[in-house]
């Protein structure tokens, strides 16, 4: 048997510490199938995100981190998350000027002057992970679905690339991946959150303007945020059951 004493002790030590369910959990995570791990139960989570518009500084860290983490094509038509800059003339919330150069990937060159009688601010956007998703309802082959823990996902082996869902999403959160010709979207970093990590965008945000929250975990700080802030979701009139809660959202934001 080709096994030295150190190796043997390390192995048996692991077995002693991680017995039963924990051992199976570790193995599932190492195999890359955390959803099969007994320690992560989809029924025990309900994911959402708290976004504080007043904290966003438009640095683009979230956009770069997301593209890096999820291997999103670098083309300026492919974003799982992006940042928009709003410029709203005094009192005219019906006609905001909105720009998002390369989704904010390279930051925002200054375009406006202080004191021009308008207000400017940044709005980070991503999939709202709706509880009643319009995009899921229109998929003809059932490739996209809401997971039991509240994440809208796509099974790319079923996706035909018909683009119905791209049209149906009221928030413009879906795009066709030019490499696979199937739809792609934010997965809320499902590979990370099922291992107890936060999303790449939240990890990289320097001001805490976006924070992932588990709405089923009573100890999650998102409950404190929702209690102490006046929050709004995007396009509430569409009753999508969005779980991206914005603080300080201006009426001009669409």
């Amino acid at each position: 048997v080709n096994q030295d004493r150190r190796d043997f002790l390390a192995r048996s030590g692991k077995l002693l510490v991680l017995t039963g369910a924990a051992q199976v959990a570790l193995e599932s995570v190492l195999r890359g199938e955390p959803e099969a791990a007994p320690s992560y139960r989809t029924a025990e989570h309900w994911w959402g995100m708290a976004i504080d518009v007043e904290k966003c500084i438009g640095c683009g860290n979230c956009v770069r981190a997301c593209k890096e983490e999820n291997d999103v094509p670098r083309e300026p038509s492919c974003f799982r998350t992006w940042v928009e800059r709003y410029h709203v003339p005094d009192g005219d919330i019906e006609r905001p000027q909105v720009d998002s150069p390369n989704g904010g990937y390279d930051g925002f060159p200054e375009r406006y002057r202080a004191g021009d009688g308008a207000k400017s601010f940044y709005v980070p956007k991503l999939c709202n992970h709706c509880a009643h998703s319009p995009c899921v309802q229109v998929c003809p082959v059932g490739a996209t679905f809401e997971s039991p823990d509240g994440v809208v996902l796509v099974d790319k082996s079923y996706c035909l690339g018909c683009r119905y869902c791209v049209q149906a999403c009221p928030y413009g959160c879906r795009f066709i991946d030019p490499r696979t010709r199937t739809v792609d979207k934010c997965t809320l970093c499902y590979h990370r959150i099922t291992k107890g990590l936060t999303t790449a965008c939240c990890e990289a945000c320097p001001t805490g303007a976006r924070v992932l929250g588990d709405l089923k975990d009573p100890k999650d700080p998102i409950h404190e945020f929702l209690r102490t802030h006046k929050v709004q979701v995007l396009k509430p009139q569409m009753a999508t059951g969005s779980k991206a809660y914005y603080n300080g959202l201006d009426g001009s934001v669409r």
């Binding site: 904290k55 500084i57 860290n61 770069r64 981190a65 890096e68 390279d106 060159p109 200054e110 990289a204």
Partner: protein
């Protein structure tokens, strides 16, 4: 390095926000060092004056404020209200790395 940020305004920012992905460094802290980004690009991403940024967020007109000088000549990167440590000053601050290839805000 994490101790250097304690008590400063950058204390709550996670390492990867500025240094990029660090999984390799976490697995092998001595062997894989974190990328040291160019402060003239990195700092400006957040702190270059921009009307759309929240007014209370610290911002400067980079050209006027620094005149091409690296921010880290006067500020410690991990705690910018303090001056930099002497051993940092003498180091070359502009190595090649993935984070500074893309343009900054200016």
């Amino acid at each position: 390095v994490p101790e250097a940020a304690k008590g400063g305004p950058h204390a709550a920012i996670r390492c990867e926000a500025c240094h990029g992905p660090l999984a390799g460094h976490a697995a092998d802290p001595a062997g894989k060092q974190a990328v040291r980004p160019d402060p003239r690009v990195l700092c400006a991403r957040c702190h270059a004056a921009n009307v759309a940024r929240p007014a209370r967020f610290p911002q400067v007109d980079v050209a006027e404020h620094a005149g091409g000088e690296a921010c880290t000549t006067c500020h410690a990167a991990h705690n910018p209200l303090a001056p930099p440590a002497e051993e940092v000053k003498s180091k070359d601050l502009t190595p090649a790395g993935p984070i500074q290839q893309k343009g900054g805000t200016k």
